[in-house]
Structure formats: structure tokens, C-alpha cells
Symmetry: C2
Subunit: 111 residues, 2 copies
DNA sequence: CCGCATACATAGAACCGCTAGGTATTTATA
DNA sequence: TATAAATACCTAGCGGTTCTATGTATGCGG
């Protein structure tokens, strides 16, 4: 499976919202889940992921909170907000429209 | 249909190759065809389209040639090259992989 | 004759993910 | 027991790509 990570542009927020909507997660876990669930397709760089999480939190779509593990290690868990859920629904619909439009070009309907 | 033109990032080249592969076209026509075939979804700006065509020609994926109309107006027709066709096949497969990966996140397979 | 459509073009702004670096702890390996 | 790899977070600046804004020029309809 050839890497075309750049196709992701514009979809990172939707991916993150969708994932965290299913279950609250911390950043490092998000990277693992994305890679695992996509069978190795999505390999987010930290320089991509963390700023994206910060952006979504700042926008009020995610809510983060620090949790300290037994070994005193820190994790920042993110959960989706009401607003985040609304935006997710919207973006999912937009993604479907976009996919449909792409396919109309790839396989033009008979005129 | 809400506009999310930004999802297009990284897909412009594939769209152009796919369209011109079906039939040689000049720039202005490309804009009209994209808008028409996608039922109004894709509305390319000239500042997006022309540099993209130049880039693809420079990369040897498209070949352009000037044609003069009866009224002495100029049009630059683009057709796809052998190399362009190869890349198109590749990118189409990559697009399908990407779509599959996205859906794996949206609707995770049961574990 | 004025505005819109046709037809091309480009400079610079803006955006966004990536590169490459940093800190610190724990666990596996040689 | 070193030392490498994994865990877990972070950010400044680079680079590529799309958009904004603008320019040129002709043809056509009202």
C-alpha cells in the first residue's frame, strides 16, 4: 500500500473527532489507534498530531484533561464536546459529498 | 451541498489527469467540465487551475499545445502523456486505499 | 458601448502538515 | 548494566499548495 499521506490534508480534524467520539483518548494512543485501525495506513507524525489536538481543544471541539498514572507519568486525555459532535456530523456529510463529487469525475455519468 | 473545497488538497492533480485522460481539453474548459460533471461541487479558481496545469506539464504528465481559433483567439489544449497515464493509474489506486483507510476509522471493524 | 463571458497568466498571502529538534521516564535488549 | 527503543508530551520554522487579487485581451448580447 503506497503511502499518500498528503491526501489527508483537510481531513485530520474529522479523523480525530471521529476517533475520539468513539472513545476518549490521549495523544499517543490516538497515533496508535489510527495506525492500527487503518491497518498501517495512517502514520501520524507528532508534529502533525499534537498541534491538531491543541487546535481542536482551543476551538472547543475537544476537551482535554491531565491524568497522572501510578508511575507519575502524565497523559492528556481528550474527549469530544457537544460542539465537537455537531461539527463531526457536519464534516462527515461533507466528506461524503466530496467523495461523490470525486467519483463523478472519475466515472462520469452518461450524458 | 456545503462547500468544503479544501478537502481537495492533494487531489487536484488526480482530478485533472483523470479528466484530461478522458478527453484532451483546454484550461477554461477544464473548469467548466469539473463544475458541470460534479454538479456544481468543484469550482476551481483560475489561480488554482493554471499553475496546476503548468506543474503537470512541466512534470511531463500533460502535454500542452497552442491552437488558434478562427477568430485568432488562442487556446492551450492539454492531453495526457504515457507517463501521465501511469501516474493516473497509481494515484487512482492510492485514492481508493485512502478512502478505505478513512472508512476504517469512521466505521471501525469489529475486533 | 458597456458588461459579461471567454481565455490565458502570475505575484504574494495564507494555510497546513512535516521536519527536526527538545524533555523525561520506563521497559526491553545485548 | 549500559543502551536502545518505546512511551508521552511539546514547538519553531520549512516547504508546498491553494487562494486572492490582479492583469491582459477579445467576442458577444443588450
Amino acid at each position: 500500500m503506497a503511502a499518500r499521506q498528503d491526501l489527508i490534508k483537510g481531513n485530520i480534524d474529522t479523523l480525530l473527532l471521529s476517533l475520539i467520539n468513539q472513545q476518549p483518548m490521549y495523544g499517543y494512543q490516538v497515533m496508535q489507534e489510527l495506525e492500527g485501525r487503518s491497518q498501517g495506513y495512517f502514520k501520524f507524525k507528532e508534529g502533525t498530531l499534537y498541534p491538531a489536538l491543541h487546535r481542536l481543544e482551543k476551538a472547543g471541539l475537544l476537551q482535554g484533561s491531565w491524568q497522572t498514572l501510578a508511575n507519575s507519568r502524565q497523559r492528556r486525555y481528550y474527549s469530544i464536546t457537544e460542539k465537537g459532535r455537531r461539527i463531526l456530523v457536519e464534516q462527515t456529510a461533507q466528506w461524503q459529498d466530496f467523495f461523490a463529487a470525486m467519483n463523478l469525475i472519475f466515472q462520469p455519468a452518461k450524458s
